[in-house]
């Protein structure tokens, strides 16, 4: 299979320093030994709640994280973690980002066309005319009108601003676009417009998306495969049907059952997996599984050793002691509710 993005043992550390000279320094590991792959032309969703490290992971893959990054990120086989100058420019042309907040992700002092052209100015040697032509093309591709090019960001609505951000990300004709919660700041009706646009653009330009989101409904609709993160770790990584129809990790199952459902079938399933308490402190992680303190199924061993990410049948990866891996072992044996997630 053709993997465009390969992440191996990626970690991002931040140094937290107490105020004042000689303040105590502590290490916060926002992304901890993460490995994942995304196939060319597909969408890999990274799902998690706040503090899970999903945005830091995405920024680290794009070489934009401010913390110290270790491990490997291969884009098209080339490791980008160690790139500098010219190599970094190559990578930036190939990997672009769409940001969450359309109100802060556009420079208020630039006109729309200058915003879309910025990556071309910095990363390419194209002539003025070529750049103008590209800007026009992508302005049209995202559904903006040419006469809006001269306007400033505050003259657009939230959805239109997000379109400008998308056009900017497209301008260098990248292969990978990292979408960091691209619709979560938008009104529901506008969300649908942007989601449909992103899917159309993916088809048209053969894009590979790394789609960061906390909204499982959007993820279910957008993705081809999913990685679920909890406290800096990937707890489950599977393709779309496996993950949503047969979730294995208790956290994934809790996450899915926590979503308020319109579908009465889902709502009346009556066996919600409710979580208690809050996530632990990243600066002071407990021994064993990071999820154990909130897990309704936790056993003594969960508090002792940290479960590794193991491969199950069909390439389904799970980091949980309680999940059986074998093809003969039926899912019921480990997860009582699994049959209800056919």
């Amino acid at each position: 299979m053709n993997d465009l993005i390969e992440v191996r043992d990626l970690s991002v550390h931040f140094e937290i320093r107490a105020k004042g000279i000689g303040g105590a320094r502590r290490n916060l590991t926002a992304v901890d030994d993460v490995s994942l792959t995304a196939k060319r032309g597909q969408t890999l969703a990274i799902v998690g709640e706040s503090g899970s490290g999903k945005t830091t992971l995405a920024l680290a893959i794009a070489r934009l994280a401010s913390g110290k990054t270790t491990g490997e990120v291969r884009i098209d086989g080339k490791d980008v973690v160690s790139l500098t100058d010219g190599g970094l420019d190559w990578m930036r042309r190939k990997v672009q980002v769409i940001f969450q907040d359309p109100f802060s992700s556009l420079n208020p002092r630039q006109r729309a066309e200058d915003i879309v052209r910025e990556p071309l100015d910095n990363l390419t040697t194209k002539t003025k005319a070529e750049k103008a032509e590209i800007v026009d093309r992508f302005f049209n591709a995202v559904g903006l009108r040419p006469e809006q090019k001269r306007l400033f960001p505050h003259q657009f609505s939230g959805g239109q601003r997000q379109r400008i951000g998308i056009a900017r990300a497209l301008s260098t004709q990248p292969e990978v676009i990292i979408c960091d919660e691209p619709v979560s700041a938008l009104d529901v009706a506008v969300q649908a417009q942007i989601i449909n646009l992103l899917r159309r653009l993916q088809d048209e330009f053969g894009l590979t998306y790394l789609f960061i989101s906390h909204d499982l409904g959007v993820v279910q609709h957008m993705c081809d495969s999913v990685a679920v993160m909890y406290m800096g770790k990937i707890v489950e990584h599977a393709d779309r049907l496996q993950l949503f129809n047969d979730p294995q990790h208790p956290y994934t199952r809790a996450l899915i059952s926590a979503v308020p459902a319109v579908d009465p079938d889902l709502r009346n399933r009556g066996q919600k997996l409710a979580l208690v308490g809050d996530p632990p402190n990243l600066l002071n992680l407990p021994k064993g599984c990071r999820f154990a303190s909130r897990c309704p199924l936790a056993e003594p061993r969960c508090f002792e050793t940290e479960p590794p990410l193991r491969v199950r049948v069909g390439g389904h990866r799970v980091a949980c002691h309680l999940v059986d891996l074998g093809p003969e072992a039926s899912a019921e044996a480990v997860s009582p509710s699994a049959p209800e997630f056919p």
């Binding site: 709640e49 706040s50 609505s157 939230g158 959805g159 009104d187 529901v188 009706a189 506008v190 969300q191 649908a192 417009q193 989601i195 449909n196 899917r199 906390h214 499982l216 409904g217 959007v218 279910q220 609709h221 957008m222 779309r240 049907l241 949503f244 129809n245 809790a254 996450l255 899915i256 059952s257 926590a258 979503v259 308020p260 459902a261 319109v262 579908d263 009465p264 079938d265 889902l266 709502r267 399933r269 919600k272 409710a274 979580l275 208690v276 308490g277 809050d278 056919p342």
Partner: protein, 328 residues
Amino acid sequence: MSFLLKVENLRIELRMRAGVAPVIDDLSFELAHGESISFVGESGCGKSMTALAIMGLLPEGIGRVASGKIWFDGEDLVAASPARLRHIRGNKIGMIFQEPMTSLNPVYSVGEQIAEVLREHQGLSRKAAWAEAIELLDAVRIPNPETRATAYPFEMSGGQRQRVMIAIALACKPKILIADEPTTALDVTVQAQIFDLLRDLRRQTGTSLIMITHDMGAVAEMAERMIVMYAGRKAEEGPVDKVIAHARHPYTQGLISCVPHLVAHLTEERQDLNEVPGIVPGLAEFGQGRCLFASRCARATERCLTTRPEEIAFSDVHRSACWHAEGM
């Protein structure tokens, strides 16, 4: 049946540079004792303004009730004095907001903030108020309430802060609890906990709940009836199950179908989401004598552009303000 809250032909005007705009335009609804209703719509549709009007908290000098009545327990809140409204706010109607961090005072411990409300509105002694505050923290399921009562807001997680807000709102056993997007800033697993808590508290206390949200899923889980708002007007009103199963307003249909909801049985097949094109009109367009949704509506006809739709009743409980409601 007597209603706890009855809003009649409410019109709220906002003063803007270019004149006044009816941010709420001829809104009527009722809330029964112990009932739970939801206001749904995109931002800028007047959901929060309705809540603020009931609370008597319209932005001073900018917003005012231009006409209409808000009957609460037989008393017209529009005509009530500021002192009376303050009393009602503290004792009869409680409210929780979207951002629990900014609604708590950062320099007092959460216990003190709850106790303060109890002393002011129930005249409890310092000691009794503190004890009651700990009870309340326990009731909203904060672990170790005795120690957590001394914690400051910044020491708590977002979910815990929202629990504290709920404790404060419930301190005086209000008859109505208004929740304005109470879980929008929270993670989905925490949201589920807060919803559970609100459901249980309602069962125990019999409080009526008005929840304002943009999330159809939340409506389906939390409310018995829903009111869909668009551009300051009521678009549709009815029992949640009925409206979701068979919406009688194109805007409601759009709101439901434009969101990728989780489905129980996922298949390979994926269709494009239904789009509601465009955005909510600006305040300047509110109040015009036509259907304000027409510009975004696939069913719009000449009549929609010239005449404001009247409410059509489909049963005593289900109403829609759309000229094409019957054909849907």
